[in-house]
């Protein structure tokens, strides 16, 4: 690990100033990903600006049913908060399917949004080729062992997947990310927060390097009665997704009034399928519709040597998640 300075500001302005004043500085949240990558030599910040003491640890709901989650809220607190359990069970389920109890006690909401890929060629600096780690060096995964890699949204430069479970639920729920920087505050829809690799796989989000995530906002809950987070992985617990599905349905009888559908483990970002949601809207909730939805969601898939299985796995997972969502949430 390279040496670094440590700072602990107590106000957002102070934190933002500290970051922009020092080249190579990074914010430290729970550290579950950043400290790990610093040990691996992938990240080498000059300064860590600890943002755990900014009072960003509240979850509140307003009169319009909009819920605001502070960026510093720990994953375990998020999953267990009364508002999230009752109104956004999809998010509680997704968060509890990620990592371990220890890591969820540490990891923050803001940090989870910035979680970096588990691509082994990215994490292990013994591999010289990784366009994400060393821009222009090539992609070892495309011609290497790519069983865990993307089938949607990748590019000739990078096929790494986004590893977050939380972000997949946030995508299906249509969350908005609130950020603050030296130029003021702004909001970013989650669909525009994570970026596809294209020719710049090292640029992973639309967050500017000097901006701080302050909160995540959820729209009025529509899927509280009918949602399901399905995660398929190599182990039953404590493993990253091969495929995951966040499915939310707003039902009137068996007619779908609105739907939220996002996939994890298959793309460089939480993969929300607008076409699939469009097909579901106004349709009857049944197996045939769900299978068509799955086909549309995976229509643009492209596979590599070791990950062709992900297409059918994703389709069946979509059908199962939608079926279980339609059956209803017990909470």
């Amino acid at each position: 690990m390279n040496p670094f300075h440590y700072q602990r500001p107590s106000a957002p302005d102070e934190a933002i100033h500290a970051l922009s004043a020092t080249r190579g500085a990074k914010f430290l949240g729970g550290g579950t990903n950043l400290v790990d990558l610093m040990k691996s030599g992938v990240e080498h910040p000059t300064t860590l600006v600890d943002v755990n003491h900014l009072n960003f640890n509240q979850i509140t709901s307003d009169a319009n049913g909009i819920t605001t989650i502070g960026a510093g809220v720990r994953n375990s607190d998020l999953a267990n908060h009364e508002i999230i359990r009752k109104q956004y069970p999809l998010l509680s389920q997704a968060v509890l399917n990620g990592a371990s109890a220890q890591l969820r006690n540490m990891a923050t909401t803001g940090g989870n949004l910035l979680q970096r890929t588990r691509c082994y060629y990215f994490i292990d600096t013994a591999f010289s080729e990784c366009n994400k780690r060393t821009p222009g060096s090539g992609c070892a995964a495309i011609k290497g062992f790519n069983r865990i890699h993307a089938i949607l949204g990748g590019s000739v430069n990078c096929i790494a997947t986004n590893p977050s479970d939380m972000s997949v639920a946030l995508a299906a729920l249509g969350a908005t990310i609130h950020v603050q920087g030296p130029r003021g505050k702004r909001t970013i829809p989650i669909s525009e927060f994570h970026l596809l690799p294209g020719s710049t796989p090292h640029i992973e989000t639309s967050l500017k390097p000097d901006e701080l995530i302050t909160a995540v906002q959820l729209p009025e809950p529509k899927f509280s009665k009918h949602s399901y987070y399905l995660k398929v992985r190599d182990r039953q617990s404590y493993a990253f997704a091969l495929v995951s599905v966040a499915a939310g349905l707003e039902l009137d009888g068996q007619i779908i009034q609105s739907a939220g559908l996002a996939l994890g483990g298959v793309a460089p970002k939480p993969w929300r399928s607008a076409e699939a949601e469009k097909l579901l809207t106004g349709a009857t909730a049944n197996a045939e519709v769900f299978r068509k939805t799955a086909d549309i969601a995976l229509a643009g898939a492209r596979t590599y040597e070791h990950n062709a299985f992900k297409i059918e796995l994703a389709k069946q997972s979509i059908v199962r998640a939608l079926t279980l969502a339609a059956q209803g949430v017990q909470a």
Binding site: P3, Y6, N52, A101, Y229
Partner: protein
Amino acid sequence: MYVINPYIASDMQEALMSHPPCTDQEELLGQKPTAADIEISRRSFVTAAGVLGAGVATGIPHMVAAQRAHQVAEAVPQTSAISLKINGKAHELTLDTRTTLLDALREHLGLTGSKKGCDHGQCGACTVILDGRRVNSCLTLAAAAEGAEITTIEGLAQSETLHPVQAAFLEHDGFQCGYCTPGQICSAVALLEENRHGDLSAVSWQTGQTDNPQLTDNEIRERMSGNICRCAAYPNIVAAVRAAAQGARA
């Protein structure tokens, strides 16, 4: 020529900030880096931006040299004076900022009960309880833990009386080699507290037991999944946690 301006060339800036080009390598040769090297000179920025600019024209910026130079420039260890509250006792330490809580415990305070397994937050051998919550001490920086109440395996027993979870692990033979055991026990102690608060797990949602879930064996397995036992003493660990949970409820 590129100019630093927060209002323009945002793509360029992001590229620069995520792989900050401090200086070119030639300038660094034969020069001892100091903390002042963090500050970027206008000249070195322009040089690096030129490299980046050329890269952008070909699709992807090639910044290996700039990145390596940046690493060299930061090779000055930083220390900070911190106070850690461990098992009810305050300790004053001056530590390299890179020191994890685990290394502070083991290497600086002689508290070697917490174990280093993977050192990457994957095995749980380093689990300690921080402000009542179980965490991986290998991914917790000591500096970031300042101000927290930390309980390690050494702090669980009351003089000669074992903590009920320790006693249950003995009773049910919840270990073989014992290396993961301090982490398993700290994890289980916090698990029981989480259960008292009615916290949910992924299994609670799957089974629909979302109102104060009972600690079934499936719940225990899911909730203990952050602690790996390479001897595979899992059946006995589950039995120990189950017994401790029943004792706690009784």
